[in-house]
């Protein structure tokens, strides 16, 4: 007869393995958090020491002259992102409404959903080429508009899919309640479905916004960058990520400092926009509401 009782050494090996694996996973988590903390530390340390009023009020100075800022890039980024949001968010939300309220279960809906996922995974540099081929080639010059449209194309699939997911969480009984009152379908979609899913949809839009706000590659061949204040949407325009890219690769310490400061501002803007909307949507709700 073989002995079936587990031996003591076997049990202690099992325990030891358990402890080793636990230790490894704790260690890995620390290893992962180190670069994050390092990046944040460098950003704040290098960025804050280079920030001054001129950064927010001046355009870049030519090489050799000290001072200067990235004010035109901040304005440029805001304009490009405004164009992107004005185009991308409504189209994205409408696409999500179609997928959830009209096309769910149809082959058309399935195709569009798949296409949105495909578009979501397209590398940003390819979107840059697409923007170039679709707009710049026909306009014959780089422009803020081209940059904005390219970024809006990147926002659409994200907004569409979050809108769809959020609308699916709205209980069907609410739609039935509205139909039962003789409310037309379009009104039900707007006032009941979208209204109920609004907090989630707004968060999704903000995440899409934050994602494209830091994008550089799609702007390389569309917005192109500029050292001057923007005058119209139909000319090359500066953008924070582009300017950071140019300054980071330059050989001048002065510009390196501006790149760090620009990165700090960019990340702060991204975090603020996400945080602000989360805060606003969490307030102004009725007691006991969703």
């Amino acid at each position: 007869m073989t002995q079936i009782r587990p031996s003591r050494s076997n049990a202690s090996i099992r325990q030891a393995t358990n402890h080793i694996v636990t230790a490894i996973s704790i260690l890995s988590t620390i290893v992962v958090l180190v670069p994050l903390i390092a990046i944040l530390f460098y950003l704040i340390y290098k960025g804050a020491s280079s920030l001054n009023l001129a950064f927010f009020t001046h355009t870049p100075k030519p090489v050799g002259e000290s001072g200067g800022g990235m004010a035109n890039s901040i304005v440029g980024s805001s304009l490009v992102l405004l164009v992107a949001s004005l185009m991308g968010i409504p189209i994205g939300i409408a696409g999500g409404v179609y997928l959830s309220e009209y096309g769910s279960g149809t082959w058309m809906g399935a195709i569009i959903r798949f296409t949105a996922d495909v578009l979501n995974g397209v590398p940003s540099i390819v979107m840059g080429i697409a923007g170039y081929a679709l707009i710049v080639v026909h306009q014959h010059h780089f422009s803020a508009l081209a940059g904005g449209v390219t970024l809006s194309i990147m926002m659409i699939p994200t907004v569409t899919r979050t809108t769809e997911e959020m609308l699916r969480t709205v209980p069907n009984s609410l739609r039935e309640a509205a139909y039962g009152l003789g409310v037309p379908r379009w009104r039900t979609v707007l006032s009941i479905s979208l209204r109920s899913a609004a907090p989630g949809i707004i968060t999704g839009c903000m995440l899409a916004f934050a994602r494209v706000a830091g994008e550089t590659a799609p702007l390389l061949f569309t917005a192109f960058g500029s050292n001057f204040w923007p005058h119209s949407l139909n000319e090359p325009i500066a953008a924070l990520p582009l300017q950071i890219f140019v300054y980071a690769l330059s050989p001048y310490d002065e510009w390196h400092r501006l790149a760090w400061a620009g990165s700090l501002v960019l990340i702060t803007l991204i975090m603020l926009s996400v945080g602000l909307v989360r805060y606003v949507t969490s307030r102004g709700q009725l007691k006991g509401g969703m």
Partner: protein, 349 residues
């Protein structure tokens, strides 16, 4: 509910009794007369409904149109290069804008090497982090750590590149590089001069960037493992690690593969940070210290300077290739993740 076979007496009595204790009807005003008239004269909204539905469909179709348009445009603009080199484009090592001789092999090599390196570093770490957050971490640490790893995903690519140029590259040049050359030089992977920029640095920065993607989807997949499975393992006397191995990892392995492939898709197309630290040199070198180029970085670097139609066309063809490869990779990944998180139960073995 038990009722006697002759029902008339009890039920009727009950009804009378109920009625006698009823509260009197409240006195209320008559309904305003205008309401019915108003509602009955409202339109059925059929026209508005059709218009609204059509508008939604149009917007949804625009997504389809955009993708089709991108494919058509990319094909059209890369015609020159497609005609000049055919499929051999992807197996040629030449990249000579002056004489108009182009091949994509160095970039494919660079993309594969950096992505592979990134996966080698990121996958074990991401798995450990996911296991830590889901199974080991005390509850109060769970949300902050999950939040911090998600924060990694919110940092723009160009900021990673900036950090890599000023922190990672010097570290690579002065500390990590010499260390690797000394102790692992025999592998042949760490030969040649080390300037800090090259495949390895690009791989490391990529690994940091794809880690949150892999980790968060792995967490999602692990979260889909039923608690009963875990309890079953624990009830058999398994240690925590044995429970994780037997129940959690075994049940979520297909989803984890999906998460890894999704991370690969991200790594293949990642542009800015890689462009800033890879050294930008179209060569195939077996040393990881050597400068290189990826599909994405060559486009970012040379697109605006490309003179000549064939040059531009070759770059766009590289973009087209990148587009098609990421579509395939992402589709596979989504299918795998979907199979675990919402599809039918994965076949047990």
């Amino acid at each position: 509910m038990s009722e006697p076979s002759r029902v008339e007496v009890p039920l009727l009595n009950m009804q009378v009794a109920e009625q006698s204790r009823r509260a009197p009807a409240p006195m209320v005003a008559k309904a305003p007369a205008g309401i019915r008239r108003f509602l009955h004269t409202q339109t059925s909204g059929a026209v508005a409904d059709r218009a609204f539905g059509g508008l939604m469909l149009t917007c949804a179709l625009s997504i389809l149109a955009i993708v089709v348009l991108i494919v058509v445009m990319l094909l059209d603009q890369s015609k020159l290069s497609l005609h000049a080199f055919g499929l051999k484009f992807f197996f040629r090592t030449a990249w000579d804008p002056v004489s108009g001789d182009f091949g994509a092999l160095p970039f494919i090599y660079g993309t594969l090497v950096t992505s592979f390196l990134a996966l080698c570093i990121a996958v074990p770490l991401a798995l450990c982090v996911a296991i830590f957050i889901m199974e080991i971490s005390p509850a109060f640490l769970r949300t902050p750590i999950a939040f911090l790893t998600e924060l990694l995903a919110a940092i723009p690519s160009v900021v990673y590149g900036l950090w890599a140029i000023f922190v990672l590259v010097p570290m690579m040049r002065d500390h990590l590089g010499p260390f690797l050359a000394k102790y692992f030089g025999w592998t042949g992977l760490f030969g040649g001069s080390n300037f800090g920029e090259g495949f390895l640095t690009a791989g490391i920065i990529l690994s940091i960037m794809i880690l949150p993607v892999i980790s968060s989807i792995t967490r999602e997949v692990m979260g889909a493992v039923p608690i009963s499975q875990k309890e079953a393992a624990l009830a058999l006397g398994a240690t925590r690690w044995e429970m994780i191995r037997m129940s959690v990892l075994r049940n979520s392995r297909i989803g984890i593969v999906g998460a890894v492939i999704l991370g690969l898709g991200r790594a293949l197309g990642e542009t800015m940070a890689v462009t800033m630290v890879i050294g930008n040199n179209p060569q195939i070198s077996h040393s990881l210290f050597a400068p290189g180029h990826t599909l994405a970085s060559v486009i970012a670097n040379e697109f605006t300077e490309a003179t000549g139609d064939l040059y531009l066309s070759a770059l766009i063809e590289i973009g087209l290739a990148l587009f098609l490869v990421t579509i395939v990779v992402n589709s596979i990944a989504r299918l795998l993740v979907w199979a675990v998180t919402r599809g039918k139960p994965v076949a047990a073995h």
